[in-house]
Symmetry: D2
Subunit: 349 residues, 4 copies
Amino acid sequence: MTDRTMSAAPVPMKWVGPISISGNVMTGLQEVPLATYESPLWPSVGRGAKISTLTERGIVATLVDERMSRSVLFEAEDAGAALAAVRALAEHHDELARVVSEASRYAKLLDVHHQIVGNLLFVRFEISSGDASGHNMVTLASDRLMDHILRTVPGLAYGSVSGNYCSDKKATAVNGILGRGKNVVCELLIPEQVVRRRLHTSPQAIADLNVRKNLIGTMVAGGLRSGNAHYANMLLGFYLATGQDAANIVEGSQGITHAEVRGGDLYFSCTLPNLIVGTVGNGKDLAFVAENLQRLGCIEPREPGENARRLAVLCAATVLCGELSLMAALTNPGELMSAHLTFERKDPR
Amino acid sequence: MTDRTMSAAPVPMKWVGPISISGNVMTGLQEVPLATYESPLWPSVGRGAKISTLTERGIVATLVDERMSRSVLFEAEDAGAALAAVRALAEHHDELARVVSEASRYAKLLDVHHQIVGNLLFVRFEISSGDASGHNMVTLASDRLMDHILRTVPGLAYGSVSGNYCSDKKATAVNGILGRGKNVVCELLIPEQVVRRRLHTSPQAIADLNVRKNLIGTMVAGGLRSGNAHYANMLLGFYLATGQDAANIVEGSQGITHAEVRGGDLYFSCTLPNLIVGTVGNGKDLAFVAENLQRLGCIEPREPGENARRLAVLCAATVLCGELSLMAALTNPGELMSAHLTFERKDPR
Amino acid sequence: MTDRTMSAAPVPMKWVGPISISGNVMTGLQEVPLATYESPLWPSVGRGAKISTLTERGIVATLVDERMSRSVLFEAEDAGAALAAVRALAEHHDELARVVSEASRYAKLLDVHHQIVGNLLFVRFEISSGDASGHNMVTLASDRLMDHILRTVPGLAYGSVSGNYCSDKKATAVNGILGRGKNVVCELLIPEQVVRRRLHTSPQAIADLNVRKNLIGTMVAGGLRSGNAHYANMLLGFYLATGQDAANIVEGSQGITHAEVRGGDLYFSCTLPNLIVGTVGNGKDLAFVAENLQRLGCIEPREPGENARRLAVLCAATVLCGELSLMAALTNPGELMSAHLTFERKDPR
Amino acid sequence: MTDRTMSAAPVPMKWVGPISISGNVMTGLQEVPLATYESPLWPSVGRGAKISTLTERGIVATLVDERMSRSVLFEAEDAGAALAAVRALAEHHDELARVVSEASRYAKLLDVHHQIVGNLLFVRFEISSGDASGHNMVTLASDRLMDHILRTVPGLAYGSVSGNYCSDKKATAVNGILGRGKNVVCELLIPEQVVRRRLHTSPQAIADLNVRKNLIGTMVAGGLRSGNAHYANMLLGFYLATGQDAANIVEGSQGITHAEVRGGDLYFSCTLPNLIVGTVGNGKDLAFVAENLQRLGCIEPREPGENARRLAVLCAATVLCGELSLMAALTNPGELMSAHLTFERKDPR
């Protein structure tokens, strides 16, 4: 039986690349899919991808950390009771870990943090979630952890299974500081001649622009851990094409571009501490998603977590390609607008 | 000729509602489409929509402001030259307005703001953009404004046509303070009995949770103007279904839920200062988008801007529906998880 | 020999109180000194102090945590080298702890956090520092830790002994999330009649104002963990009177007031996660400071840290007194201004 | 009659300099006083001051803007009523300006901004305040404005005379974006040889450290418009010595250091958008304060505002001196700690 109210929003999708990638997760050339209404994104990422193939090591992608988080909220009798509860949780860490493991065989409790505000107690659980992005896994685990804690720790009442100290899909600092999702650093060393011939600019121009726009410009805007030009664009396109919960681009967009001139060449890096991606779970069973993940080499028989890590690295490298391309374009007056005019009209939609 | 590299990512889409809406832009009942991989979103928004129809005025949506922005970056000789330039721009506001109007017949210069950091000058142009979200319009206008300014104001050099004081798709404070996109406030007064019967909770429980989770929880997370539970989810679904640049959910997610008990009933409001939506431009010519906009009543022959304002109000009302439903669910232990388990399995994908 | 260029800025000082305090650090009545140019601060704090004595338990002050931090900055060859260094540090935690303990007999390494941005490695050391606020202790320890690390961990170069991930005297989120200084929660339950007679307002009026001004008002201002009315005023006065480095009011001001109506009475709390105070070190040997600390009961022969904890609790309780008084005043039109006019003229300077 | 409870906290004070200053407010050499418990601050600022005298133009200080602000809070019936009120205020700007001018002959209404959140209306009044920092002036004006508005604009009720959208002494973004206090940019061009001989470092080392520590380091810390090393230290010392309300270092600390290598020399700038200083008002009648202001040349018979502007520029230049000195020290391993050890022991207290 078909649900007649269901249909689909066919977002235009295109594969670009290949991107040359190395680092602690994968090595090789890989094309990537981007689904977006903003057609200039494809040639932009494509240009960055091409650059990556003209360098010695390609984009060196280093996976630094991975975890998914959920913060629950308890109402304590007072701050003293909240503090006593925090201490009880620390003493019974093994018990909490057992509850998490029982919620899912892929879930493992990594760490617990807390905040006390008056009599309110926020407890942030951090788990590893295998190949899943982990939203549901951590919610289920948190549900069970709350039950367990409310039964075993005195002085607490239920507040909420989500207390916003998680933080899911909101512009906060906690995710970058404590970790949420995959933390990936991508670095690319581009010979000066490649910068000049392919990007029509100089290493110094890009490094200077990065300081002025991405660091200082964001700072005067009252920005929060968001020192970049447009990570959100690449993340959206990649997330949609691979069945991710694209609302997580909110925290995903909070990353930092750092560029320097090194011996005349350009060192260009993108640090993405909050990539929330998975190769299993919601959205992954859609036919085109499964096909895309297949083509990305992300549903191979591997140890749990390996496929998701490969996906995260591909995503981060894609972000670097688009970031590099836009930053180069912005160093030249008029280039951004003419690119938009060209590609939006040529786009065969 | 077909581009064989092109395909589409068919994101599952469903219409929910109708929502009952009144206020300074539109009055009536309207269903809305949501494209998402997170199927529990549909019944969640649907529940909120149903509530809206059980109230006297429905969701009262007030459009407070609308503008699109782009900040350009100049390198001045020193801060003195930057200040002189700022004063020159103020004196020649009419000239700048003319340049903007010549860039597009729909564009109108509304305001100009600046920041000086050392010798760097960031100038933020704010324009009205008719029925377009205005990204391209404001970039084109900024391109021309920079040309004009570099020709007429001494002591400045080109820095970048985008200086991140815009701020586009990044977590900053400037958009909420100076404005970017449509600023819409949605309010709903829900009789106590409706809260109890339909949401299985009490007005006081929701008001208390809002303070503890959305206000205090976000605050301890180091949040930036993001006092809500999950605006990003509804925005993503609505943006994808209506051909919007969904990367703008980054700033769109920065809104505030405010709830209070009033005479025993529940006052529930969502303030969304940064809704970046349009009914013309990129993505709007796709067949399904045009059809959706048609069904939403947003491509009627009206004064420029009227269709986009209707779309913004529909979007904001959709956000309120989903926010209300999740907040209610979170007041009850276990409800969120069981809803996810129910709806993700029943979903006919 | 006297340095003739030296003199002193005699900031007007007054003792107010006593405040009634209980909780996990101290119990009793205590007057407190405030040095300030803003004379209305004294009667304001005095009024709050009086209220505390009219309640059952007085201000219940709970010390939640204490630590001092410094982040050093290394330049790594690349992110891979930075990650390898992070892992080496984790494996050699005991060695790092030994280095810290050798730097000062009062210093103890509590925790280590890091951030990797491109090839930059920020390492945040957290130590306990006995009765000292710990600025110098943690800097000395960090100096030695850097030496040790640069000798023993390959792939790193010196960046800076302070990398701003500390963060000292700057508006950031990291201190509230990871901890810096004493974390103290003060709570006061005030009978309705006391609120009405002494503060000329109602519990509901104060609770509502707190949500609207301190939570929502700060949020729209783009505030960062700063949900309060004027913590900075009390902190400055207390810090100056007790020889503290008052520039630390920058992070000290980042705290949250939470108020609710409970059974008709007023629950009023101030959470101050970043109180940086000490009873030994810079400034404490000045005669008037020593005398003030003496009178505060904070240079008694006790276990290391006990005196500083008492000082922190007294400071936090003082903050609550001033916060309560101002919040009450603001609920009544005209009261703030008339208080200023009264007290600034009556002040016998 | 003497108030026997009054005494004073004699904070150690020293004059350092002279600093060489030019720009749009003053030109010349001037010593400055700093009151602080942190004795290493004096030689640190002194070193920077000396550098300023070895350059061609000295510190070029540009006053960019000046205003004082207070936001009031109204409770409207709903967002529609709030919006109607905003429009009424815009239409009656001249009336509001008259009310402000009647509150004080020095007060002039510059601008009005607002935020609507649900039914809450925050209105931010910005005034010029002559030689006063303006706290009381703007509060008095706001009191009268509220009275006037509540009498003349329907649909509003009193909320609070301060709604935290001001924002006074709290870490927010609004002050930097809309302005609060004097906005001063200080720039210094230092010949390479001076950097090497006097600061024992290189222009490149300082420029690189600034990017890594002050921009990126602050960013990862979740910092808010706070790209500097230690503005708060100099601000505290200068504010205490000149009778300012030193709690305003909270917003004062939110400034940005920008440094670059120019033709081999060092361009070093400090941008301080929120200097809240005055030469009249609270604290200025204390004998030592009057003497200090006299010696600073800040109580001369000049046009209203001129003395305060001179004071702001002296303050900002002092900040640059200390910032430059610390940044230079941090480029050399061990220098910061040894400076502390040296100066804290030599200090004749």
